[in-house]
């Protein structure tokens, strides 16, 4: 119960608890309804009542009297069992859930929204998925994506590998949208997958009839059945509930706080468009890894002590010094323009390099390519040891450095790996089409 202070005492004195139907009488008004829990906010003056007409009201306990009308029963959560017979004609697709807004269930009696973390719940909310495939589900985490950590990337990667080893034809990972692109990049580097691994989520929580979760899940299952055997992100292509885009996991970024089509391919085009169960490759000349019979390969050793620092006017060297002193193993800088930071930082950068800490330069422009030969500052940064991340997204470079340092601690080796295209994160050529699309 989240009632505190005066409210908690008040309720105790009347011996009523959440779920009970009560009558509150005040000087000139009466309210009859079910006592609800407060939704997380701090307040010790108001009780929340769900009236018979469905409305919630907050009632100030000052000068209020309470009568118990009826003791509440705990609502029994007995969902009908799912009739999931395997259909040999359908593909086996695994859906792994990490939490977030892809699936949740409303209890209308109390008005509470429960996140549905079990895969069964997810299927119950979206039974159409079972028409598309033999869907097997598993919940490995129960977190909001802002709380994601590198160790969870490993956990997710291992679960995915397990599913593939057990014969999954494709894997869908349900993930909160905030950090989905970090996880997508991480899985791209950790996994060599012979089948599609598709990340998806929802911008409108699934307790709403307008949720984008259903379309995103359906399209993701379509992508998971395809021959595009990479780690991808599948989300709404536009504000319409019509088609979804499939983005390469290393070239995608959340670009809007709230829109359904928040995920955009940066410095490339989306790989494919998915509509009504059909997937169409958008750039027929683009290379992608095809489905194969290979074993899944897992390289899951990581070095999470990597700092990700944004350059800005007025930034001082002490931020860098702090990370060096604290023993961070690598630093990714999100520089300005073509890949710059103030010259004032150069002594600290040199110190980092001398301590064997790789420094990687990306651009906060997001679009375009880092080129540190154009201006003198860039050249000075290069001689201080800075590794240009080319056309890699800052977030992808950050994740890649974490992964790379898990593979080697030799500076030269790190530099080589960071500048070698492994999973589509680096493209040599920049098309005039790759901007704000």
């Amino acid at each position: 119960m989240s009632y505190r202070g005066a409210c908690e005492q008040f309720l105790e004195s009347y011996d009523v608890s959440i779920g009970d139907t009560i009558m509150i009488t005040k000087k000139d008004v009466k309210y009859r309804g079910m006592l609800l829990d407060r939704a997380g906010d701090i307040d010790n003056r108001h009780l929340v009542l769900k009236l018979d007409n469905g409305y919630n009201v907050g009632v100030d306990i000052t000068d209020a009297r309470v009568e118990l009308v009826e003791k509440g029963e705990k609502p029994k959560i007995e969902l009908p069992s799912l009739d999931m017979e395997e259909d040999p004609k359908k593909r086996d697709i695994s859906i792994i859930s990490t939490g977030g807004t892809v699936a949740s269930i409303i209890d209308y009696k109390t008005g509470a929204v429960h996140p549905a973390f079990t895969a069964d719940d997810l299927l119950r909310a979206n039974p159409e998925l079972m028409q598309e495939a033999n869907v097997k589900g598993e919940a490995i985490l129960n977190i909001l994506s802002e709380n994601m950590k590198p160790e969870y990337w490993v956990k997710a990667a291992r679960s995915i590998a397990d599913e593939i080893n057990q014969g999954a034809y494709g894997v869908v990972l349900a993930h909160g949208t905030d950090t989905m692109h970090y996880t997508a990049a991480a899985l791209s580097f950790i996994l060599d997958t012979p089948v599609p691994v598709v990340l998806t989520g929802a911008q409108r929580s699934s307790d709403r009839p307008s949720s984008d979760a259903f379309l995103n899940l359906m399209a993701s299952v379509t992508a998971a059945k395809s021959d595009l055997a990479e780690v991808t992100v599948c989300m709404h292509g536009t504000m319409n509930d019509s088609y979804s885009y499939l983005h390469r996991g290393t070239k995608v970024r959340k670009m809007h706080t709230s829109r359904r089509d928040t995920f955009r391919s940066i410095n490339t085009q989306p790989l494919a468009q998915i509509q009504n169960g059909r997937m169409e490759i958008l750039d027929k000349t683009a290379w992608y890894r095809e489905r194969s019979e290979n074993e899944v390969n897992l390289q899951d050793s990581l070095e999470p002590d990597v700092a990700f620092i944004k350059s800005y006017p007025g930034i001082g060297p002490e931020i860098l010094d702090y990370h060096v002193d604290k023993g961070f193993k690598g630093i990714v800088v999100e520089g300005t323009g073509l890949g710059h930071c103030p010259e004032e930082l150069i002594p600290s950068l040199e110190r980092a390099t001398d301590s064997g800490i790789p420094l990687v330069m990306t651009s906060q422009c997001l679009y375009g390519r880092v080129n540190m030969n154009v201006y003198s500052t860039g050249r000075k940064l290069l001689s201080a040891g800075m590794i240009p991340a080319l056309d890699m997204l800052p977030e992808t470079a950050y994740v890649k450095l974490i992964w790379t340092l898990g593979q080697t601690d030799k500076l030269e080796e790190v530099k080589k790996i960071m500048q070698t295209n492994l999973k589509g994160e680096i493209q040599e050529k920049t098309s005039q089409k790759y901007f704000l699309i």
């Binding site: 000139d28 008004v29 009466k30 309210y31 939704a39 906010d41 307040d43 108001h46 929340v48 009236l51 018979d52 007409n53 469905g54 409305y55 919630n56 009201v57 907050g58 009632v59 100030d60 609502p75 959560i77 007995e78 969902l79 009908p80 269930i105 409303i106 209890d107 209308y108 009696k109 008005g111 509470a112 929204v113 429960h114 119950r124 909310a125 409108r204 699934s206 307790d207 709403r208 009839p209 307008s210 949720s211 259903f214 379309l215 504000m239 319409n240 509930d241 019509s242 706080t257 709230s258 829109r259 359904r260």
Partner: protein, 623 residues
């Protein structure tokens, strides 16, 4: 009708748009637009499953129709909030304040803390699949000639998107109306007489108008809840005309009485509705019926429902021009069908009596049995007939609870089932709002004057006629009147009738203008300074309206400026001289005709009183 004996009970639900600067949860303006939409957004809605495994009945029926929706949006007139692409902004405080004023005017008890809820609505009229709404106050009352009526609830909610039409199976909505603040006022079902309903609606309308609400068509909507003792609760939507209310009540009572008679007859006959739906497509292979042959040619089918003991009752009239069959058809129409065929109207519509006989024979129908036919695509036809079947089964034992739509003549048609109660949950994106009692007290001590009070006061204070005062109140011109009255030394009745009558006259002549307060002020200033006579006001304002002059220029251009006393005297002298014969003959008796001539010559450029005085003096001297 003896309403008391029938146990008639009614409740009223009024929805009124507020005239706030911004919408309830976003900064968009609260005006509709006819501009071409700049974007159309395609969306699907899905009913969500509750933990208790229940999906709201009304919501579920909508979902069966599998509708897709197109939302018309604008680059600047609407924003991402209406499009369900951005979470709601904090609740509009202006709207909350207006609702608190209303709560107070209706003697209601305001909640301590306002919680915004999501009310599930999946007919597409809300992009999120729910309407945001919150309970502001409870337990109010209103005095009527028939006794006290309790006001149960006052809710502040967002208006729905505007339905524009249908396009390729998708309902098209425009986002301009979505999010306009709306007040919902609900009375308890204690209204007992059709005339009382009208009075309550009228009074509520008057009270609403004393606050910042929108005016005009579509800004206020009235729903009526009605039941009789043995009947059922029915909600009638979209009542616009208050004068139609008593008739509507009468028609609904009539409908329920007739449905009860049908039920009694069905029970007497031991009637029944068969569960099985029969495919009778084969019978209609060669049919002349266009609807059926078209359905078959489009790979559709023909389905029949057998109704035992219904003969003659489907065709029974339950409201003028509307039969029990019309009710059944209403259910099929909701599932997208254009209509149904039933035995009581057949053979007709190209269906031959042979075909009717074949169907009856196929169904093994007895003397009193009927059938209903539908023809369309298999799934659509089946879903529609299942609905008809459900309605027909209900007819065996009761009048169903329904939401109905009012028609022009006061009859009603089926819209959807009454929503079940379990369809609200909290809007987690909006924090609860504490309503401090001190704030309420401040509002209570600054309440606006109600229209009736206002009228009585201005009659008393300014000596206006009853009609003049009523017009000013109705036209919402009392504030203007009082401002002008306090500023200019002009007779209050002159000011009032200018605002109430003269403006109407000028508009009637086709000048569609809104005068501002300054234009009136300048005009009355001319009167006050004696530059124009009162009689010239209409001409001045008409000229202002027609040519866009300032009142002063208008007076000059129209040659209306008052003459000096000397100028008037000269004209009077001139007239006496011209008519010296008459003056000699009639003496003081020439006063009347000469007055007429003088006024004609002066053409409103002098006050009659002055002319009268001068003429009288001069004649008396002469005689």
């Amino acid at each position: 009708m003896d309403y008391e004996r029938l146990g008639l009970k009614m409740g009223l639900e009024i929805h009124q748009q507020l005239n706030t600067n911004k919408k309830l949860f976003c900064p968009c303006e609260c005006n509709l637009t006819d501009k071409k939409p700049e974007l159309k957004i395609l969306r699907n809605l899905r009913p969500t499953q509750s933990e208790l495994g229940k999906i709201d009945r009304a919501a579920f029926e909508e979902s069966l129709r599998k509708l897709q929706f197109l939302y018309e949006s604008y680059d600047h007139h609407t924003c991402l909030v209406e499009a369900d692409e951005e979470p709601p902004h904090p609740l509009n405080q202006e709207a909350l304040e207006i609702s608190l004023i209303l709560a107070s005017l209706l003697n209601m008890k305001v909640v301590d803390e306002f919680h915004t809820m999501r009310k599930q609505v999946i007919d597409g009229s809300n992009t999120g699949g729910f309407q945001r709404t919150g309970l502001v106050a409870t337990e109010g009352y209103l005095e009527t000639d028939y006794g006290k009526v309790t006001i149960d609830n006052l809710c502040l909610e967002e208006d729905a998107a505007r339905r524009i039409g249908q396009k390729k199976g998708k309902t098209v909505f425009r986002l301009d109306r979505l999010g306009i603040p709306l007040l919902e006022i609900t009375t308890d079902p204690s209204i007992r007489h059709p005339e009382q309903v009208k009075e309550v609606a009228y009074q509520l309308g008057q009270i609403l108008r004393s606050t910042k609400v929108k005016r005009g068509l579509g800004t206020i909507r009235q729903d009526l809840n009605i039941s009789i003792r043995k009947g059922a609760r029915v909600e009638i939507k979209g009542v616009q005309d208050l004068d139609l209310m008593p008739k509507m009540v009468e028609r609904e009572v009539e409908r329920q009485i007739n449905l009860l008679e049908i039920r009694d007859e069905l029970q007497k006959r031991d009637a029944d509705v068969e569960d099985h739906l029969f495919n009778v497509e084969d019978i209609f292979e060669e049919t002349e019926s266009k609807i059926i042959s078209k359905a078959i040619s489009k790979k559709g089918t023909v389905l029949a429902l057998k109704l035992r003991g219904f003969k003659g009752l489907i065709g029974k009239e339950i409201q003028p021009g509307r039969r029990f069959g019309t009710e059944l058809a209403g259910y099929a129409k909701k599932m997208g069908l254009s209509g149904i065929f039933h035995t009581d109207e057949l053979p007709a519509y190209g269906i031959s009596s042979d075909e009717v006989d074949s169907v009856l024979k196929f169904l093994g129908a007895a003397e009193n049995d009927s059938f209903i036919l539908v023809a369309d695509k298999e799934e659509k036809a089946r879903n529609a007939l299942i609905e008809v079947q459900r309605r027909a089964k209900t007819a065996l034992y009761e009048v169903p609870e329904e939401t109905r739509k009012v028609l022009e003549d006061g009859s009603t048609e089926y819209l959807r089932p009454l929503p079940t109660a379990s369809r609200m949950y909290v809007e987690t994106d909006i924090p609860a709002i504490d309503i401090p009692r001190e704030y309420l007290e401040k509002i209570e001590s600054n309440l606006p004057e109600l229209p009736e009070e206002k009228k009585t006061r201005i009659i008393r204070e300014y000596g206006l006629s009853h009609d003049l005062a009523l017009q000013l109140v109705r036209m919402d011109k009392v504030d203007d009147f009082e401002k002008l009255q306090s500023k200019y030394k002009v007779d209050p009745t002159t000011i009032a009738s200018t605002l109430a009558y003269i403006i109407k006259e000028i508009r009637r002549e086709g000048f569609n203008v809104d005068f501002d307060l300054n234009q009136f002020g300048e005009t009355f200033e001319l009167v006050e300074r004696g530059q124009i006579p009162v009689a010239a006001i209409p001409t001045v304002l008409r000229s202002v309206a027609e040519h866009g002059y300032s009142p002063e220029i208008a007076a000059k251009k129209e040659g209306l400026e008052k003459l000096s006393e000397q100028e008037v005297e000269d004209i009077v002298d001139e007239i006496i001289l011209e008519n010296s014969n008459m003056v000699e003959e009639r003496g003081i008796g020439a006063m009347g005709p000469l007055m007429g001539k003088a006024m004609q010559k002066l053409q409103g450029k002098a006050d009659g009183k002055l002319v009268n005085k001068l003429l009288k003096e001069k004649l008396q001297k002469l005689v």
